[in-house]
Point group: C2
Chain length 411, copies 2
């Protein structure tokens, strides 16, 4: 019996090790000089950490926890199942404590600053830094008359902005998702790199991109009669696959500040307030401080997930403010919403809707971005749809969506 | 006997609790919505983390590890001794694993991305964001002909740069310390905030600040005959008090990439290479891409700790390149070095040397910045010294040094 057990165990170990390709390389998102985490050609993540006195260490990625195994020196090592191409949030769990991996760089998502890892992708060239004319991503503070506080945003300026000191440029306002903040599009999204590469290749015209925070926009004196419904009708489908923990959490949940006595809450409170901050503070600040062509035809609005829903809401409430509108994994416009919108149809140049192929509901069937675009085209709207191959509700979908959308803008 | 023990224990508990002021508030450096870590009026840090299955959790700050205590719910809590005012790197240790605190924001220092905490300071007003004209901190990639790679830096542009679109400005090149990188001056150092406040108050003239990486500047084709000595004569004193772990570690240590077979090493390799990158790549890039007054009189160089030593080395090798020179906790110039430096004396406008009062050797006695400035003044050099009260080899010393130095520049 014992012999049989040994044989079976040896067989299982051999099978398991045959399944793991031993070609692991340090992730590109690692801290300088750190070997771990690593990724292999099967897109498995191998984590490692020294924790000599720990009883249990796990790698927590894509909503699944994987046990790490301790060696004689107290170093724990283990692998995840294969992950999708692109960027994923993850963490380690040491004896019940969820902590960032000291080997990785840190990103804001899933309502916390924590570990992220980039899995090499077949198309990663479009978001790789190259020796082409470089724009810059500018960190800016400004005073908000709506929140009565200083706010913080990032502004991408293309190389042409610097090279043509008297020229004015169009602007895209680009928003992050639930549980993320104004750093997401630049860090995880690689906005500046994608744009510099697109512009250098002649695939996009140079324009400014403003990335602000869509969750902390809480008016000091909220107009409660103007609160919008959330979620939208038709936005009830839950994305499948790994996603930021913040998705679907209750308003005011962890990391969003919690309920505030006697005042509006963060999270969905800020979701509503963002429209007011965008129109009264952000756009005026940008049009005052930068060389901007300040008209509808040269103004775009887009966002991912929650930012796409905000784009949806703000576009319906302000149909002639933005000529280009993009929703990345953020639902679709219905024909009903736009069939009588004469002003919108007159000023809109592009309406773009995208999703990852692994996002339930939006990639196929009657609710898909493809079908939605067909219905909108029948109304005479220049609707576009895009489905990111083999990705879920994650940043690879949104990097690709930006890459597609940017090529349609201001042409 | 048992009674005595109870009495003694009760007395000790009362004494201990009397020593800790229960007025803890969340640190300003916490992640949004996180209560812990906290700081009290005695400048003690209270950390807390849920780790139900852990055997031991410690708070590691200022080179000392403090035991946390577990409650019935598996949540660990504990306090440090009082800390100096200002910013400190720290970490948690869970069963032997050193990890970032999931409650804090993350900073690059001590050769890793990890936790940092700001202890309230009596003078924190000068680095607090205010509703004054705001400049911006710009993230820039550029190609280096020296390293034959893309490099990454930050450029602070004052509000006046935007407001006066044809005007040109002076430039300060400002360097971080060992174990830090190009993000340090903007994040921990609060450069943009300090400058916006100083300029708004009329205490500094507007100028550009370039913050680059002084450690990863490894020439693709190094000229080994040009390697400078390190450490400098007179720089052998070790700072006391808490300091980045990177200080004093061996070249090529953790986070610095380690030795590279057949090539130059990171760390002190980059320390030497930085001069070449600064002169051949950074300054030409800045003078090409920004509206800069490109002469000695409008060019300054400064740095903290290792960055101060680089400033020292580069100034001696290029005595007429920078009219303003600052060394923050980075040693002193000797009268011997400059007594025959006629070119330097002709072009130099200000030579600034600072230290924290708790830094051994540089705050008092014959090797102090005060005495060094006196000796240089006797040579006819406009030398200034500054000693930051009650701070060690840490960021509060360097924030204050920048605040002082900036007021002397380009006037």
């Amino acid at each position: 019996m014992k012999q049989l057990f040994v044989i079976v165990a040896a067989f299982m170990a051999a099978t398991a090790s045959a399944q793991v390709a031993e070609d692991f390389k340090p992730a590109t998102t690692n801290q300088e000089g750190h070997e771990y985490p690593m990724v292999n050609s099967q897109r498995m993540v191998r984590a490692q950490i020294s924790a000599p006195e720990a009883n249990s260490v796990k790698l927590d990625i894509g909503g699944v926890k994987y046990d790490l195994v301790k060696n004689a020196e107290g170093v724990w090592t283990g692998e995840s199942a294969p992950q999708d191409e692109g960027f994923h949030y993850y963490q380690l769990n040491i004896d019940g404590a969820s902590v960032p991996d000291p080997g990785s760089m840190y990103y804001y998502g899933a309502s916390r600053w924590g570990s992220g890892i980039d899995i090499p992708a077949a198309d990663e060239d479009f978001y790789t830094v190259k020796n082409v004319p470089q724009g810059s991503v500018n960190e800016v503070y400004y005073y908000s008359t709506v929140t009565e506080k200083m706010r913080h945003c990032y502004v991408y300026l293309p190389a042409a902005y610097r090279e043509n000191p008297t020229k004015s440029f169009p602007v895209l306002y680009l928003q992050h998702g639930m549980g993320e903040n104004e750093t997401g599009w630049s860090a995880q999204g690689k906005t500046g790199i994608i744009m510099d590469n697109l512009i250098a290749a002649g695939k996009a015209v140079p324009f400014i991109i403003v990335m602000d925070n869509g969750l902390n926009a809480i008016p000091a004196h909220p107009d409660t009669t103007q609160q919008m419904q959330f979620p939208f009708p038709g936005m009830s489908q839950r994305p499948n696959g790994p996603r930021p923990q913040g998705m679907g959490q209750r308003p005011g949940g962890p990391g969003q500040g919690g309920p505030r006595p006697g005042g509006p809450r963060r999270g969905f409170g800020g979701f509503n307030g963002f429209q007011e901050v965008l129109l009264k503070d952000i756009i005026p600040m940008v049009e005052k401080n930068y060389r901007v062509i300040a008209d509808t035809e040269h103004r775009a609005l887009a966002g991912l997930s929650m930012g796409g829903m905000q784009t949806h809401m703000i576009t319906l409430a302000n149909p002639t403010k933005f000529a280009y509108v993009g929703m990345f994994s953020g639902g679709t416009f219905s024909a009903d919403e736009l069939k009588d919108a004469a002003d919108f149809k007159k000023t809109n140049k592009v309406l773009f809707m995208s999703t990852g192929s692994k996002e339930r509901g939006m990639a196929e069937g009657d609710n898909s971005v493809t079908k939605a675009a067909e219905r909108l085209k029948a109304l005479g709207i220049n609707a576009h749809s895009y489905i990111s191959p083999e990705t879920a509700h994650e940043w690879q979908t949104w990097r690709r969506s930006l890459y597609q959308f940017a090529q349609l803008l201001f042409k």
